[in-house]
Amino acid sequence: MPIHEKSLIRPENLKTHEHLVIDGVDVSGHWSTFIETRVVSDYNEALEEEIAALPGGEHIHRCWQCGSCTNSCTVNEINADFNPRYWIYLIRVGMESELLRDKDIIWQCVSCNKCTYACPRDVFPEGVMKATAHWLERKGHTPKSPSMHFDEVFTEQIIKTGKIEESRTVRRFFKRTKQGLAQPWMIEMVKRLIKHLPVGMLTRMGLATLVAPKTSDWSRASAAMQEYIEEQHEKQEEALTLAQLVEVAQEDAAA
């Protein structure tokens, strides 16, 4: 529901005492209903910097809240709660608890990039949505999304072999997302491949599946990529103060 139509009273803020007597007057049940305060009493100043440290989030500080992103948003058209303008604001001023209320829909961005082209300040809202979804995952607020699993499987394979072998990617992706391989559409696709593809191509595909060929002389490129990714990852962990958290946990465990 659009923000201006949202009720200011949240059901979880309504408090009722089943049995309550005040000054001898029985105010049990709905007579004692009161509403907890909605006041925001502090900003989390680290939040914007954390999102900005993740790929795509770099330009979030440019936002001036015109709402072009939300107005042009594909997902917003279907789900009015999907509001990039609002989330960017929450991140910028550091209203973390408010942002977490929407954690289960933020990942729904379809990356159509209409917002990217509508934004007058080059905030790159699509990137911010991606960064925010990653932030939620890495902070442990949401489980890894299927697309994150896919990205990981894809990247791992590239680094290892320098090639994409589709059937392996699909198999690993299905395994990680705990989906069975024997899905009707998959069976149908394999049947048609066998029926329509030339024999030579089928043989090469089958061989590739079995032996997982590598790009020749790939090890140096692979090492460089690996190093870069680790470097970036470390930087992000540091920005997200996740590295420190791990250290503290280790120290606690040791003590």
Binding site: K6, V39, V40, S41, Y43, H61, W64, M95
Partner: protein
């Protein structure tokens, strides 16, 4: 000998008018009620000016030197005009030091008065030491002492700037936009972030009016390079929990009430009509406009005219004005005086 032109007020507009007249060889007499020339930028100790970023003492100080070094300009500081009679080309002026002058025309460059934040007691000025005005922050910077909390001299970790203090507020009879405060505030916010990179600066606004080319240089730059945060909320009150100032309001973009702790709160104070305007109006026999600024008639045909022929006006005396526009108006008023005096000659020719 040609009679001098009377210029009232030695701020940017008055200095510009005196300089203009001097360059064409017209004598003028510059009356300043304070003991020094330079107007608000000098007397109130402004720091770096919009839009060039030059220090006020260099930029406006240079204008002062240019005028004091001009033999066509006589300067009277610590002096006011006590009576003003006569007709265009033939005014009789008496000064507070007893001096009597015959003047050809007069240009009022009597400026403005900074809004006194005590008139908005709910925002804590005068109650809490760490609630200050933009003028005080200018002074902290221009003095070289840096931005510190007045209560104990510590570096603030979080600063709130409240816009429209003394502007756009019917409760205190000030309906006008003071025009400069948005730009000045984003300029100061950048100064604070530059001096104290660990200090977060929040600007609470109703609208941001960093108009024209200031958009890029101040509003955009303060966000993009200096990460100043702009929050759409008009603050209800500033209180204290004993340690921090508590800024209370409603964040209208998320529809949530806020009570946020701050180390320092800065009021972006507006421009009031000069407190002496009623007296100036009666001395010079001119009309004030509805807000109390000097009325300026016929904006298109005759630049800088007041309700009285032969008396001109320039700068923030006419309403909230920037320094560079005040200077332009000072030059324009000088031109208006010169062309006005030229007119009878043209007609006779």
């Amino acid at each position: 000998m040609t009679k001098p032109i009377l210029i009232v007020g030695g701020g940017p507009a008055g200095l510009a008018a005196a300089h203009s007249l001097g360059t064409v060889g017209r004598p003028s007499i510059l009356i300043e009620k304070e003991d020094a020339l330079g107007g608000a930028p000098i007397l109130s100790g402004y720091a770096k000016l919009v839009p060039t970023g030059e220090w006020a003492k260099d930029a406006i100080g240079g204008m002062v030197d240019r005028v004091t070094g001009d033999s066509n300009v006589k300067v009277r500081t610590g002096t006011t005009v006590t009576s003003f009679d006569g007709t265009p080309g033939n005014f009789n002026v008496e000064l507070s030091n007893g001096e009597k002058i015959d003047a050809e025309a007069a240009i009022l460059c009597s400026g403005f008065t900074h809004f006194d934040s005590v008139n908005k007691p709910e925002w804590g000025f005068g109650t809490y030491e760490d609630v200050v005005t933009t003028t005080q922050v200018e002074q902290m910077i221009s003095s070289g002492n840096g931005v510190r909390c007045p209560s104990d001299g510590r570096e603030p970790k979080r600063v709130a700037m409240l816009l429209c203090v003394g502007s756009r507020d019917r409760q205190i009879g000030r309906e006008w936009c003071s025009k400069i405060c948005c730009t000045v505030s984003s300029n100061l916010a950048m100064e604070i972030r530059e001096e104290l990179p660990d200090c977060h600066v929040y600007i609470y606004y109703m609208d941001i009016r960093t108009y024209g080319l200031y958009e890029t240089k101040y509003y955009w730059r303060s966000q993009e390079e200096f990460k100043v945060k702009y929050i759409k909320a008009r603050i209800a009150e500033v209180t204290s929990d004993g340690e921090k100032l508590i800024v209370k309001g409603e964040d209208t973009l998320v529809k949530r009430p806020i009570t946020i702790p701050f180390d320092m709160v800065v009021h972006a104070i507006g421009m009031d009509p000069n407190v002496d305007n009623p007296e100036i109006a009666s001395t010079f026999g001119i009309d004030l406009e509805t807000h109390g600024f000097v009325g300026s008639e016929n904006k298109y045909g005759a630049m800088a005219a007041t309700s009285r022929p032969g008396v001109f006006v320039a700068g923030a005396a006419t309403g909230p004005e920037t320094i560079d526009d005040s200077i332009a108006q000072g030059h324009a008023a000088a031109m208006a005086v010169l062309s006005g005096m030229q007119e009878p000659v043209d007609k006779s020719a």
